[in-house]
Amino acid sequence: MRIARILGTVVSTQKDERLRGKKLLVVKPINIDGSDRDDYVVAVDTVGAGFHERVLIVGGSSARMAEGNKDCPVDTAIVGVIDSIELTKPDKKK
């Protein structure tokens, strides 16, 4: 899974009928320090993410396991909205 932030939305009326009624969002994967990664993804939103700051995306065939994505031509889904991220302090000995 990856952390991403929402760039925008995609509106498509002519699409596979199994994608009907699904919200398509353009998301940009980010590193845990918030800096951007180079690619972007169009993901199906299954949790009503809206324009929250950071979301959790899952890729590959596991995206079809998200709610409502059964048998849908989807390879990336937003499965959670991130409230906060906690990191351990980098250990001194290394």
């Binding site: 899974m1 596991s62 998200a66 959670g80």
Partner: protein, 97 residues
Amino acid sequence: MQLARVIGNVVSTVKNKSLRGRKIMIVQNLDEKLEPVGQPLVALDAAGCGMGELVFWCRGKEAAFPFKRDPTPTDCTIVAIVDSDEHVNNFELKTKN
């Protein structure tokens, strides 16, 4: 599957129903000498691991297998906790790490 160190966790209340009650951890991949390599990953916890522990994860569709009953949207799941760093025996290394 690869070895990794748990370096953080992600708190998410609004999420997919089948992710409820599951911990979402941030892990740093390690090479065979247990040195950090590559970018940290986000992984769902199925082994009950804690911060700083040495674990290994499983990717792809099989990542959902530990949650057999309900379809769980995860493509990376922590499936095991290594007993300790000493329990990784790399025979090529002269000294044990």
